[in-house]
């Protein structure tokens, strides 16, 4: 496992590995999204209280969930960057940021529309802890991207952005526990381990799982793709890139 990880840390190996994996991920993502959307919009029943609006759940829940997971990936890759100075770790963190920001954006927008229909006459509640902490997450992603591009020197930019990513980690438990620590309009988490079976009916649980899988696979696919872009850009004068491009042209 460790040996494989080390090998994956070498740019040429990573490039070859991702070339093999990417088409499979793309196909898997497409299948999961097609199944998930049809299941969520057509086949799944409506909720006993929220009726049809509960269908927003199938995009809102996975997007919010992975907006936090992606941040954790970014923070861990940033820690590796700071400690071991592995170039690929920095690229993984940098590639995660726009994807995480997009997922957070989707979570905020769909949450706002859902709240507008269910909670009442409001799109946004400034005093709500769950909403605010998720908004801060969005700004953390934007701040990370801004800081990353603020320095001419790639290594200094990477270090500054990594520190920001690590400082922001404190926001993740706040988002997660905000609905328990404070009184929030947002409902408690449905996806809490063993309670999950009790709080969501199987007819809605399975399409939700499919959509979670779809969002996860899309993240994996985009992560590889964006990392490859950063890699090509940074190493364009290296021998292996020249070799690879020559093969590609042939």
């Amino acid at each position: 496992m460790w040996v494989w990880f080390h090998k994956l840390g070498s740019p040429p190996y990573f490039y070859r590995f991702s070339t093999i994996v990417l088409p499979w991920l793309a196909v898997l993502t497409l299948i999961l999204f097609s199944v998930g959307v049809v299941w969520g919009l057509y086949i799944a029943p409506s909720d006993y209280q929220q009726s049809e609006t509960s269908r927003i759940m199938y995009v809102h829940v996975p997007a919010s969930m992975f907006s936090m997971s992606i941040y954790m990936v970014m923070a861990m890759a940033s820690a590796v960057t700071l400690i071991w100075r592995i170039k690929l770790a920095d690229l993984v963190a940098s590639a995660s940021a726009p994807i995480g920001a997009a997922y957070t954006f989707i979570a905020l927008i769909t949450g706002s529309l859902w709240g507008r229909t269910m909670w009442g006459n409001t799109y946004w509640e400034w005093s709500d802890p769950r909403l605010m902490s998720e908004l801060i997450l969005f700004f953390l992603y934007l701040g990370y991207m801004a800081l990353n591009s603020a320095y001419e020197d790639r290594r200094r930019a990477a270090r500054a952005a990594a520190v920001l990513a690590l400082v922001g980690v404190v926001n993740i438990p706040i988002i997660h526990y905000s609905v328990e620590w404070w009184t929030s309009l947002h409902q408690g988490s449905t996806t809490r381990g063993t309670q999950f079976a009790a709080t969501i009916d199987p007819s809605m649980r399975y399409p939700l799982f499919v959509m979670m899988g779809a969002f996860a696979m899309l993240y994996a696919q985009l992560l590889l793709k964006y990392t490859r872009c950063l890699l090509l850009d940074g190493e364009r004068n290296n021998a292996w890139v020249k070799e690879m491009v020559k093969q590609h042209a042939a």
């Binding site: 409506s46 927003i56 927008i109």
Partner: protein, 56 residues
């Protein structure tokens, strides 16, 4: 179980907006990634061809 599979009217505009915005964001992100890599490879290939001509 009583739900009409062909009843499109059951989706409120808000549901459709949610799915539409999600689709637009995710598809854009994907297209940008794929096009970016293609462009980079083309750029690098062009540069190497120019370099090779310079040395020969």
């Amino acid at each position: 179980m009583q739900h009409d599979l062909l009843d499109f009217g059951k989706w409120t505009p808000f549901i459709l907006w949610c799915y539409a915005i999600t689709a637009v964001v995710l598809i854009t992100l994907t297209i940008v990634a794929y096009r970016k890599e293609k462009r980079l490879i083309r750029e690098i290939a062009q540069k190497h061809r120019r370099d090779n001509r310079g040395t020969s």
